[in-house]
Structure formats: structure tokens, C-alpha cells
């Protein structure tokens, strides 16, 4: 196997460790995680409860500082000591999807989405245009002026996908996006998420407990006792990075 030109990674973890506690009671949740994510690559993160999945996702999402190691997003190293710059990274480069969609219950779908675009620095006209396009793609146009409480769980997660992609982030992180959905709805949501993330050429990292979803992803990241192992399962993707001699 001979390496060829590898695409520039968008997200890089170098020697990431995370410990909780101090003195004699120190729990090491992540032990030297090294990872690279490229544009359009969809990874699934699995592991038993308490294995460190959420901790890793929180670090990737610039919500939690690692005890050791570096995180590089795009061309810049993330400065975890600077709250303002962390907010800026999340605002511009990251999209999040949570277990329960977590849309603001007092705002219509349109408003829920528009504030994200505006906060990311898009003009009102840009937001409108992008919303039209995405609402159409995700078949959410009829829901535009409804409140989140008027939508089904699946519809809410579709809105959450739209929210995560609206400002064209380079990375989308999803925390158990199907946990509150039935299997069929969940599968549809994940397929949609994968399709849209690939279309937008965004790095996608999804945490899930549902092993039935694994075949849908390019790469499986498995974490146990803070140690991460990775497995590529899409030949096409492997071929993108490596070629057999």
C-alpha cells in the first residue's frame, strides 16, 4: 500500500487527553486520542455509556477543554483558554445537532433558524435565500411558520439538521440525534443528515448507541475506557486516501 496525496484535514486531534478530578481521585476519560477528519467524511462514534463519547464530542465542539493535547480546526489551533475565540469558532465553523433538537420553543421554525444565520454574520437576505433552499431540500417549507411544539420528533430533528448546516459550517457534530425517534424515523433522519453533510462537504461526527446505523457511515470510531480505535468501512473512501501498490 503506497500513500498518495491525502486531502487536507479540516479537523485534527493530537494527543487529546481528558481527566476529571484531582489528587488521588483522577479519572482519565480520554487517553491520547489522535484523529483527523477530512471534508465530506462521515464518522460515527460509538462506545458504552461513560466511555468518553460525549467528552470527545464536547472537546471537538470547543465546549470543553482537553487536559492535554491539541485541536486544530481549519488552519488554526484552538485556544481553549480564550472563551471568546471558542465562541467564535462555534459560531462560524461548527454546527450542532442534539438528542432532543433543542429548538427554542417560543419561536417559529423560521425564527429559530434565522437567528443562527444572523448570529453567524449572514445578512438577512442571505439567510432568507439559504433558508428557502434548505427548507425546500429538507421538505420543511410547510413548517416554516409553525412552533416546534407543532412538529413531530422527526420533523424537529430535520429542522435541527437544517439549523446545523445553515451557516455553512465545516464541521457538524451530532449527539445521539435518533435517540428520541423510532427506528424508521431515525434512519430517515440519519440518511438525510449524511446526504446533506456530504452535499455541503462538511465533516460529520455522529455519536450513537444504535449499531444498526453503522453501515451508513464512512468510518467507525469506537471508544472504550478512553482509548479510541478507528475502522474505515467504505472502500471508496479508503481509496481516496490510500492506494494498493
Amino acid at each position: 500500500m503506497k500513500p498518495i496525496t491525502k486531502p487536507e484535514p479540516v479537523l485534527v486531534c493530537r494527543g487529546i487527553c481528558k481527566s476529571y478530578g484531582s489528587g488521588d481521585i483522577v479519572e482519565r476519560v480520554l487517553k491520547r486520542v489522535d484523529l483527523e477528519f477530512s471534508r465530506g467524511q462521515a464518522s460515527v462514534l460509538i462506545g458504552p455509556s461513560g466511555s468518553g463519547k460525549t467528552t470527545l464530542l464536547s472537546i471537538l465542539g470547543c465546549l470543553l477543554a482537553p487536559t492535554e493535547g491539541e485541536l486544530v480546526i481549519g488552519n488554526g489551533m484552538v485556544d481553549f483558554t480564550n472563551k471568546s475565540s471558542l465562541t467564535e469558532v462555534r459560531r462560524q465553523k461548527l454546527g450542532f445537532i442534539f438528542q432532543h433538537a433543542q429548538l427554542l420553543p417560543f419561536m417559529t421554525i423560521q425564527d429559530n433558524l434565522a437567528i443562527i444565520g444572523r448570529n453567524a454574520g449572514m445578512t438577512a437576505a442571505d439567510v432568507d435565500q439559504r433558508l428557502d433552499n434548505l427548507l425546500d431540500r429538507l421538505q420543511l417549507k410547510p413548517m416554516r411558520h409553525k412552533l416546534p411544539s407543532q412538529l413531530s420528533g422527526g420533523q424537529r430533528q430535520r429542522v435541527a439538521i437544517l439549523r446545523a448546516l445553515l451557516h455553512r459550517p465545516s464541521i457538524v457534530l451530532a449527539d445521539e440525534p435518533t435517540a428520541a425517534l423510532d427506528w424508521n424515523t431515525g434512519k430517515t433522519v440519519v440518511e438525510l443528515l449524511l446526504e446533506q453533510a456530504r452535499l455541503e462537504q462538511a465533516v460529520l461526527v455522529v455519536v450513537t448507541h444504535d449499531t444498526r446505523m453503522l453501515p451508513l457511515f464512512d468510518r467507525i470510531l469506537s471508544i472504550a475506557d478512553g482509548i479510541l480505535t478507528e475502522q474505515y468501512q467504505t472502500a471508496a473512501l479508503e481509496n481516496t486516501f490510500y492506494t494498493h501498490s
Binding site: 465546549l63 465562541t87 427554542l104 420553543p105 419561536m107 445578512t123
Partner: protein
């Protein structure tokens, strides 16, 4: 790529105001109840302060309406209402001081008015000199000149029931002597609960037990055009013995201070006003805190999604100012209605532009202060909590 804007203050403010107002209006019953609570608290504070302003105006009304520059009083006179006898010839002494254009006397004393049903009522007699300086500003009936007639007085319409006289020609007694109502004034309120009764100095001396015929309470004087009032004051002080010389503003201030501060009346009113504002702050602080607590998960989501802490603080501040602004507007409207209704009563609610603006700004400042607990809760918020379901 879409056009990128810097997320400056204006953009943050616009996002914050959208989120803030939608969050508030989502629970309409709580929104309206909070506004009602703040409105009542503001009205309470405004009414107390309005009462104070009304009392201050009442307290200094005669002094200010007299239209003179200088008041010469007995030494240590605490207030207009407690005039101490001084010899009448002080009028001539003051009039002869260089810089004085005109001087007259005024007598203020207390007496007992006998209601036709026999009930005794304390009244404050104001005895006026030849030019009637200090006469009521407005008359409902009759001419002020009438008080130059023997046994003739002017009473105010506000106290006709209390005094038991209703129209010109009605009679009563002061200190056992007959008085005839010669005129009825309008809007002459009293701070002391004893109605003012206007008459001439000559008549007043016969009704006030502590004054002799050659005594008055004050010398009131106007200075010559272009004269330096402070210089004239000093000259009077040097040339006339055993008196105190005050400008109209100084005497009005002294009278107001006496009733407001030395008697404790004003302090009580000020404390009640502050309590009213505190009630408003507590209501708003509690409501804002409850709203913030209800929406902590939403705030954590916004933080995780890249909203700056400052934007979230701006949301709380916007809510605080919205609630406060609307509550104050409703409270101010209530005050305006109450002020109008009380305008022709013995206890009017009054205000001035400076007092109104000051109270509104002070209240808004308190509203901002009330959001402190909520802002603190947001400051402590950990965005990682969004991943815990």
C-alpha cells in the same frame, strides 16, 4: 459564500431583542401580571413622591406667590407657618435701607374658628398689608380688597364644608369674634391641616391671641431694579436688630425643609416611595429570574451554538427594560389619572419634569439592577450541559 457581517453590537442587539421579546410574550399571562406588578409598584412610588411634591408646593405656595424679594423674620423662624411677633416699625426700618424699593408687613398666626355647629377648628390666619401682597392667586367669588373691611375674611373653597361657610356673607366666629366671609379663594391648600383664612393685618391682630396691635410676623420687601439682593440683605441685617433676613427662595426652602425633614413627614414619604420601588424591583427580579431559570436549557443551547455571553446578557437586559418600560408607562398613566383626580383636593399629587424624568430613570436603573441575578445565572451556565439531554 454568503456576505459575512461582523457580529457587532447592533446585530447582537437586534438578535437579542427578537429572542427577548418572543421569550417574554410566549407566556402572556406571566408577562401581563409582571407588568401590572411593576406598574403598581411604580405608581406607589410616584404617588408618594407626587404627594411630597404636592406638599412642598403647598408648603411654599404663599411665600412664592407673594411676589417679593426679601423676607425679614424674627430670628430662628423655622417655617412660614410659625411666625414669631416682631415690632411693626420694622417695616419702616427695612423700607429706609438703601436698595429697598417697597416694604410692607404680614402677620401669620393661629386661631380657633368656630363652626356654626359649635365645633372648634384650628385655622391659620394670614394678615395682609395695604397692597395685599400674599393674597390668594385665584378667587372663586369676591374681590380680595374686601378683606380691608372690618371682620371680613377670605376662605378657600376646599375648606367650605370643614369651616361650615359656603358663600359670601356667611358668618362664623374666630376666637369668639364674628367673621363674615367676603370672598372665596381657589386652590389655597394647607400643609398643616389648618385651613388658611386671609384678612387684613388690622383684622388679624384681633383674631390672633399672641399678637399685640403693633406687631406683625414678617416684613416683606422688594428691592430696587438693578440692586444686588445679597448686598441689600446684608445691609438690612446690619441696620435692623434682632431679625433674620432671607430671600424668598431661602425662606421657601427653609419652610419646606422644616416640614419635610425636621418633622419626619418628608422622611416617611420618601421611605414609602423607596419601599414602593423596592417592591417593584423584587417583583421584577423574581419574574426575570423565573423566566431565566425556565429557559436555562435554551440559553445553554444558544451558548453551544456560538452565541456570545454578551448577547445572552443583552437578552436579559432587554427583557428587564421591556418589562420595566411597559410597567413604568402603565404606572405613569395611572399616576396621571390620579394627579388629575386629586388636583382640586386638599392632598394633590403633583410632579415636575425633573422629578418625573428622575423617577423614571431611577426606576429603569433599578430594573437593570433587578436583572443581576439572572445575568449571574447565565454567567455560570456551562454549554456542555446541552449534551446531557
Amino acid at each position: 459564500m454568503p456576505t459575512r457581517l461582523t457580529t457587532g453590537f447592533a446585530a447582537s442587539q437586534s438578535i437579542a431583542s427578537v429572542i427577548a421579546t418572543k421569550m417574554l410574550s410566549h407566556n402572556r399571562s406571566r408577562f401581563f401580571m409582571t407588568i401590572v406588578g411593576i406598574a403598581i409598584a411604580f405608581f406607589l412610588a410616584a404617588a408618594q413622591i407626587g404627594l411630597l411634591v404636592g406638599w412642598i408646593n403647598t408648603n411654599s405656595a404663599i411665600i412664592n406667590n407673594t411676589g417679593v424679594d426679601i423676607w425679614v423674620t424674627a430670628e430662628q423662624t423655622a417655617t412660614f407657618d410659625y411666625g414669631t411677633p416682631i415690632p411693626r416699625h420694622r417695616v419702616q426700618q427695612v423700607a429706609s435701607v438703601p436698595g429697598i424699593n417697597w416694604a410692607e408687613g404680614m402677620l401669620v398666626g393661629w386661631a380657633t374658628w368656630r363652626h356654626p355647629n359649635g365645633k372648634p377648628i384650628n385655622v391659620e390666619i394670614v394678615g395682609l398689608d395695604k397692597s395685599l401682597a400674599g393674597k390668594p392667586a385665584q378667587m372663586l367669588a369676591g374681590d380680595p380688597e374686601i378683606i380691608k373691611q372690618p371682620e371680613t375674611v377670605i376662605v378657600d373653597e376646599l375648606f367650605r364644608d370643614l369651616l361650615g361657610v359656603w358663600e359670601i356673607g356667611d358668618e362664623a366666629e374666630i376666637q369668639g369674634k364674628r367673621v363674615i366671609v367676603g370672598g372665596i379663594s381657589q386652590g389655597v391648600r394647607t400643609f398643616t391641616a389648618a385651613p388658611f383664612v386671609f384678612t387684613s393685618i388690622k383684622n388679624a391682630v384681633t383674631y390672633t391671641p399672641f399678637y399685640r396691635e403693633d406687631e406683625i410676623s414678617y416684613v416683606i420687601a422688594r428691592i430696587e431694579a438693578g440692586a444686588d439682593i445679597q448686598a441689600v440683605k446684608s445691609r438690612i441685617q446690619r441696620e435692623v436688630s434682632n431679625v433674620e433676613v432671607l430671600t424668598t427662595a431661602e425662606f421657601a426652602e427653609r419652610s419646606v425643609k422644616y416640614w419635610m425633614l425636621e418633622t419626619g413627614v418628608g422622611i416617611t414619604v420618601i421611605i414609602t416611595g423607596i419601599l414602593g420601588l423596592l417592591v417593584g424591583i423584587v417583583i421584577m427580579s423574581q419574574t426575570l429570574f423565573a423566566i431565566t431559570q425556565d429557559h436555562l436549557a435554551n440559553y445553554a443551547t444558544l451558548l453551544a451554538l456560538g452565541f456570545h455571553q454578551n448577547t445572552l446578557r443583552l437578552i436579559v437586559l432587554t427583557q428587564s427594560l421591556t418589562l420595566g418600560g411597559l410597567g413604568i408607562a402603565v404606572g405613569a398613566a395611572l399616576f396621571a389619572v390620579a394627579a388629575k383626580a386629586s388636583a382640586r383636593t386638599p392632598i394633590p399629587l403633583e410632579t415636575t419634569t425633573a422629578v418625573s424624568v428622575g423617577l423614571i430613570l431611577f426606576s429603569l436603573l433599578f430594573c437593570i439592577g433587578a436583572s443581576w441575578f439572572s445575568i449571574r445565572a447565565i454567567f455560570k451556565l456551562d454549554p456542555v450541559s446541552v449534551f446531557h439531554g
